[in-house]
Amino acid sequence: MASISARRLSKELMEIKNDGCPVGINLIKADDFSTWWFTIEVMGESLYQNEQFTLQFRFDPQYPISSPAVQFIVTEGKQAPVHPHVYSNGHICASILGNEWSPVLSVIAVCVTLQSMLASCKEKQRPIDNDRYVKHAPENPKKTRFHYDGECQCYRIIPIQDLTIRFL
């Protein structure tokens, strides 16, 4: 019996192939049930006009109970959008990728959410702590415990490893 992750992703994939992706979102790689790539661009008026970004999803076997690891690709000439919630290494500080993930969400739902996050951006800038975070960031953004501050948009990021050391 295939794992829940593979089973569900196969259904999501089937829906994507049957119904297509929302406007501005395209599935460009889904060779297996561990890593998918999408291109994402913001339609209409926005600070990101004519920019296209590549979004990577990585799934573990407990998906959808556990959230996918989502980040922008920053290799092969690709860039992460300059956005207050997007670090230059492609990591994204978005609560739905962390503590507000719900198994009811889907890959496409995440894409749409991130697309709207870009669309609503008022000012192109990196997170305040970008340099510090990028220097110490874990490879997998799921290993970072982002601090979601609703209003001030100030995201303090605390790599879990650092914390662990501190507590030893």
Binding site: S3, K11, Q62, I65, L163, I165, L168
Partner: protein, 598 residues
């Protein structure tokens, strides 16, 4: 597949309404919920049974198609759902069901297939289940039992000391719970008692109220409604887990690193606490390089508060790993300086031997700082080695010191400058205890370390709690050629005044165990009971531990001293006289004081 004929073979007590009591393989992760509770809830029809899901579903399917679409279990555990009793099957055969599919009425219907009529898709796993599926208490969304048992509170971590209640995956309302409406008929477990069960079958129900579609309810249930099954109910241990993590953090915050001073360096040789804890190599190095004890001390002094009572939960934590890590850190640390120490020891040995020759009494040893009795050490714990005397001296000193402030003691070498060995001993004993408890190889390490320690006359900072326990250790030790070992052994011997032979691993008797929380080290505890120190109850020990960090005054050290066993040990340890040979014998027969006198 389960038609009436086959059904009889399977005992009906394995299924509830053609569903199962255990997961059907949708998820492969650990089953960390309380299966007993889940089983009870299913039997009570408060939670949908684990139906074998359909990969897909269409109302036009025949029974055979439905049964063919059912997921097969990955392992032998899964069996076909069977009819609980032939009568049921027969009744079923009287077609009736499938309101949606008139044509199916013509076929003999199979109850285990009929239950899937009007199947509902679980929005999380995307699989189809019989329409009697759980619904979220808050927003009335369907969720299968397979998915429901996967949803749980956020796991507390040492960096996130809260356990947030699981939120509804659909509406994000806190305290997720489901409500289950069972079908009007019963089959399997719990069907015997109910009058209607026999006659009832899935088809009947479908007949009576047509498609078993779920009527959306208007109101939501509160989390504490009797109908609701919450995620906490099937994981009743969440509070214990949270408490365990909190206790672990508190314990870590209260830890003190046991340092040994070698020259101008401080070398971590162990960690105090109920629980032995590992130093990361980095950290160990940092600490070692840092001559100023105050810094690391304060850095670690994070008070988690109220650690009391948490001890019993430590079992939840990966203590073994921590202990192993600590052992490794200590081992590396010891090896690092071993060569140097040996060199020093050899040099000193000459001098020491000379002294010994001159004076049989303890004096010689004392005069030689650890180096002395390198070769002399005795193999058996009971036997004292020349080196022991020195250690004993040191202990006395340490005792005195300890009452005052551990810190002072730790920073500065033992009060008695001449006896360098002494200081080293206490830490070793603790270390030894920890090692033995954690690892069988520990003894070997200890010996080496001990020898080293003896050779080095370093001052060992002792944790507050340490003072109490540490004093005793300095007895003669084994031959092992390590003078240091002797010191460790000594402790046991002294403590074991009641026990004739100290052959027991020296480590075990070491003081540390006692300080450790009761649950932490079984072996150690036992030892403690045997030893004079036994007066200390586990509870006492734990208390000591707790109080250690913040309040030195509270240390039980004082009370301990009065206690015969402990005091004696310390005293004996201090005595150089005892050092030789038959210490074990003496101790066993006579009390410490005696020994001293002797």
């Amino acid at each position: 597949m389960g038609n009436s004929s086959s059904s009889s073979s399977r005992s009906h007590d394995e299924t509830v309404d053609f569903g199962f009591l255990t997961p059907q393989g949708v998820y492969t992760g650990p089953r960390d919920w309380n299966q007993t509770v889940v089983t009870q809830l299913i039997c009570a029809r408060r939670l949908a049974p684990f139906y074998r899901p359909l990969e897909d579903y269409d109302d036009s399917w025949t029974d055979d198609q439905i049964l063919a679409a059912r997921k097969e279990l990955p392992d032998a555990e899964g069996q076909e759902p069977r009819l609980e009793q032939p009568p049921l099957a027969s009744s079923v055969s009287s077609k009736a069901s499938h309101s949606k599919r008139p044509n199916t009425l013509k076929e003999p219907s199979k109850p285990e297939a009929a239950v899937y009529r009007g199947a509902a898709e679980c929005p999380i796993c995307f699989l189809y289940y019989p329409p009697n599926i759980n619904h979220s208490r808050c927003c009335d969304q369907a969720i299968c039992t397979e998915c429901f048992v996967q949803i749980k509170r956020s796991e507390p971590t040492t960096t996130h000391l809260v356990s947030d209640p699981a939120a509804c995956p659909y509406c994000v309302q806190e305290n997720f719970g489901v409500v289950y409406t069972p079908p009007p008929w019963r089959a399997g477990i719990g069907s015997e008692g109910s009058p209607s069960s026999r006659s009832d079958s899935p088809k009947h129900s479908s007949q009576s109220d047509n498609p078993p579609t779920h009527k959306r309810r208007q109101k939501s249930f509160s989390a504490d409604s009797p109908e609701v099954v919450t995620t906490d109910q099937i994981r009743p241990d969440w509070e214990a887990k949270l408490a365990a993590v909190r206790a672990a953090v508190t314990r870590r915050a209260n830890r003190r690193i046991i340092m040994r001073q070698v020259g101008d360096r401080l070398i971590p040789v162990g960690v105090t606490s109920g629980r032995v804890h590992a130093l990361s190599p980095e950290e160990a190095a940092t600490v070692a390089d840092n001559g100023n004890g105050g810094t690391w001390r304060s850095r670690r002094r994070r008070d988690g508060g109220g650690a009391g009572g948490a001890g019993g939960l430590e079992q939840y934590l990966g203590q073994d790993l921590e202990e192993l890590m600590m052992m490794e850190a200590m081992r590396l640390s010891l090896i690092e300086h071993e060569a140097q120490q040996k060199r020093e020891a050899e040099e000193k040995q000459k001098a020491e031997e000379q002294v010994k020759n001159v004076d049989t009494a303890s004096e010689p040893i004392a005069s030689d700082s650890g180096s002395g009795p390198v070769g002399a050490s005795t193999s058996s714990a009971s036997i004292e080695s020349p080196s022991t005397p020195s250690t004993s001296h040191q202990k006395n000193d340490s005792l005195r010191v300890k009452k005052g402030s551990i810190f002072s003691r730790s920073r500065s070498p033992s009060p008695v400058p001449p006896v360098s060995k002494q200081s080293s001993v206490p830490p070793f004993s603790t270390l030894g205890a920890a090692l033995t408890s954690t690892n069988s190889t520990a003894s070997a390490i200890l010996r080496s370390s001990y020898s080293n320690s003896d050779s080095n006359s370093a001052s060992i900072p002792i944790p507050e709690n340490y003072s109490e326990t540490s004093q005793a250790p300095l007895l003669p030790k084994d031959e092992a050629t390590n003078p240091a070992a002797s010191s460790i052994l000594s402790l046991p011997s002294s403590s074991s005044s009641t026990t004739p032979s100290i052959t027991i691993a020296p480590v075990a008797t070491s003081p540390i165990p006692q300080t450790t929380s009761p649950d932490s080290l079984p072996t150690l505890i036992t030892m403690a009971s045997v030893s004079p120190i036994s007066p200390l109850t586990d509870a006492d020990a734990s208390e000591l531990y707790e109080s250690l960090p913040s309040s030195p005054e509270e240390n039980t050290s004082e009370p301990l001293i009065p206690r015969a066993g402990k005091v004696k040990m310390e005293n004996t340890g201090t005595n150089d006289k005892v050092r030789d040979g038959n210490r074990a014998g003496e101790f066993s027969t006579a009390d410490p004081e005696h020994v001293e006198e002797a």
